[in-house]
Symmetry: C2
Subunit: 243 residues, 2 copies
């Protein structure tokens, strides 16, 4: 199996979110021993220009730094790339084209996961950075699948969502959990059947808040882990048939 390639994980945006993705992927894998787990390399080099600032405020592009990560993962043997950051998916097409490795898109994974539990026609809450909301890749996919979508107000994003994300990045999980709980409650009060946690820091905060909050959420990190596992299981089945 060591010769059949591996999963590349582009992390570092931020590191705790990448660690959360890693743990969820391992926990989800029905392995009986080490050797049945998915081979992977995680590139977690967080010295990358801020993604939200680049999208919304004309800040320095993080694309060159992310491309360096994709290329390092490709050199290590990556056949697919998972990006443990929603906002970074703004550059998913360029990363895939210039990096030369297919990307398992987190919004595809999240929408597949929610389609299994939320009936078509329902309205979803979307929690994410200003950058992710401006990029529109969730809204586009939700509309295509027949879902409505509501988001937090600009004021709520500045006062609750971004501070929750920043708190996770500095390991202040109690603070992050309280803020995330409030955002989930407000989106539900506004009519959301469930809330998509469309920023990989947010599931860390929501898991810390507890199962009463998590129960109303679609965890995009968990969904991406599921998509990676499904890809890997298909990959090794194909490799086994080819032998």
């Amino acid at each position: 199996m060591g010769m059949t390639g591996l999963l590349g994980v582009l992390g570092g945006m931020g590191p705790l979110a990448a660690a959360d993705f890693f743990r969820k992927l391992v926990s989800l894998t029905p392995a009986r021993c080490d050797q049945e787990h998915i081979p992977l390399v995680i590139y977690s080099v967080p010295q990358i220009p801020d993604r939200v600032a680049a999208i919304n405020d004309g800040g320095e592009s993080p694309l060159p730094a992310m491309l360096a990560g994709v290329r390092a993962l490709k050199a290590a043997g990556a056949l697919r790339i998972a990006i443990a950051c929603n906002t970074a998916h703004y550059w998913a097409d360029e990363l895939e084209r210039e990096g030369g490795v297919p990307i398992l898109h987190i919004a595809d994974a999240a929408c597949d996961a929610l389609a299994r539990r939320v009936p078509r026609g329902a309205t979803l809450g979307l929690m994410g950075t200003r950058g992710t909301l401006a990029a529109g890749f969730y809204q586009k996919r939700l509309a295509a699948r027949g879902y409505g979508c509501i988001t937090s107000t600009d004021e709520e994003i500045e006062q609750l969502v971004h501070p929750a994300i920043a708190a996770v990045k500095r390991n202040a999980l109690d603070t992050a959990a309280g803020l995330a709980r409030t955002v989930v409650e407000r989106l539900r009060a506004a009519g959301a059947a469930a809330v998509i946690l469309g920023c990989t820091e947010i599931p860390v905060a929501v898991d810390h808040a507890g199962p009463d909050v998590a129960a109303h959420c679609v965890d995009a990190t968990h969904a991406l882990a599921g998509a990676c596992l499904a890809w890997w299981q298909g990959h090794i089945a194909t490799a086994a048939r080819a032998q």
Copy 2:
């Protein structure tokens, strides 16, 4: 900072232990934002021959597979290697010599950590695989620092320690936690002032068991994370002075 190198993490032995190390390292880092976290690459390719079987039963050597990992980490820019597996440190000297990157040894880190809380002359319990106990790198360091060392019996290792480790590798944490609790209790009853968790699966089990068990233990994974952080802080301070 992106140009000043990074930490290489050799994982995959097993994957949940590597995820635990990653989370502990990130949580321990006093970063205020992504960019202040440690840049690292984790090589978690678990298709490696069994380490305990190689040491104790003449099984296939895992050294070539581990060396491939060290070389991939070096190619990605690693200046130091942390190995998220105690048993694998049996090959630490060869990995360092043939891989060409200095290794931050987990037993040095654990002994430094325990020296800060356990008085010289005390007896420590050592919990690890048959391979780690046979290798003797913990016992040698403990003796050099003036500590006594007791281990589980061969029967306890086969019936409690190895099954706890195997349970973590297949994500059966409740089972693992119960077994680990029993081992810690027996070593304490036999006179251990504290128990060194000298296998990176065991802290996952003990953390799951709860703080009443963890309080009596020295977590080698956590200690290694601390050693990595200390190395990185020294490294960036030196790099800053050189500019």
